[in-house]
Symmetry: C2
Subunit: 148 residues, 2 copies
DNA sequence: ACGAAAGCCGAGCAAATCAGTAGGAAATAA
DNA sequence: TTATTTCCTACTGATTTGCTCGGCTTTCGT
């Protein structure tokens, strides 16, 4: 039940882009450096995000990446699904095309995995990049108060 | 975010034992056959469950495995934790000993993974083997109604 | 026009994990 | 004593993970 670095790095990178939304394209090496991610590896991940339409790229000098939609319209679930595939603890409850299983109608464990899937999806789909920006702002304020 | 076969097979095997709770020891090859699991592989999994105190074994002919506690005191979460380790989408929100991360206080993504962890744990910890037995009974009754 | 800064692309690779197999030793009921 | 069963250790092929490497193309600034 682990998330791979694909999902983790992807969410970090997208959050970074959200924090810089409106400031023009952000080069990948900047994102990689700020988040301690191998640039070459992140390149592969962001290629997937780009093909899925979550970010767009600007080539050439002074180029970089930009969110393709505003932060409030992108959820963590969107990012995870693109990078890690459909949310499903086991394939027989896959969101897209559940693996066929002849026992599905009588399978008790299957119902459990479906509950897990729904509960994870509910959490991830309810959090937008904008929510994260706001939480970040709150954290900073608290941190400020702490130093007074 | 996939469960491995360890967790899946483990829950199936434990449910099988729950269905036979009170009928003496059930040999492993029976459980393996009924659930389409490689016996040798299941052997390794049940060894872990035994060492964790969830099942007890009776050696020798007519031996087998028995639940070590009654079905209502064993949750799916117990089984999963034993076989798959602590519930945590990423190590920095590990239930037992969270991996140290210097940015933890300011990490926005970390809060998300903690929410996912809690939501998965809540589902798994709320389902006991007895709940599964009852659901199974309901399904059988529905199936009976269907054939009238 | 040129060079530096960027994205784009495909190949390769070491380590870890998964999902088993294989083979036998020890215990026990009949 | 024999069949049945658990117990234990080691090995293994396939897949995934988390990268690295090298080169090509596009574009901005001068």
């Amino acid at each position: 039940m682990k998330l791979s670095t694909k999902g983790r790095y992807g969410v970090k990178a997208m959050f970074d882009l959200a924090q810089n939304y409106g400031s023009g394209p952000i080069p990948l090496n900047t994102i990689a450096r700020r988040n301690n991610i191998s640039e070459h590896y992140l390149e592969q991940l962001i290629a997937v995000l780009r093909k899925a339409g979550l970010v767009k790229s600007v080539r050439g000098a002074q180029g970089g990446y930009i969110l393709n939609k505003s932060p409030e319209t992108i959820t963590v679930g969107d990012i995870i699904r693109v990078l890690e595939g459909p949310i499903a603890p086991v394939d027989c409850v896959n969101e897209d095309e559940p693996e066929h299983c002849e026992n599905a109608d009588f399978c008790i464990t299957r119902n459990i995995w479906a509950k897990v899937r729904d509960s994870v999806a509910q959490v991830l789909d309810s959090i937008t990049l904008k929510d994260m920006l706001e939480e970040s702002k709150n954290l900073q304020e608290q941190s400020y108060m702490y130093y007074i």
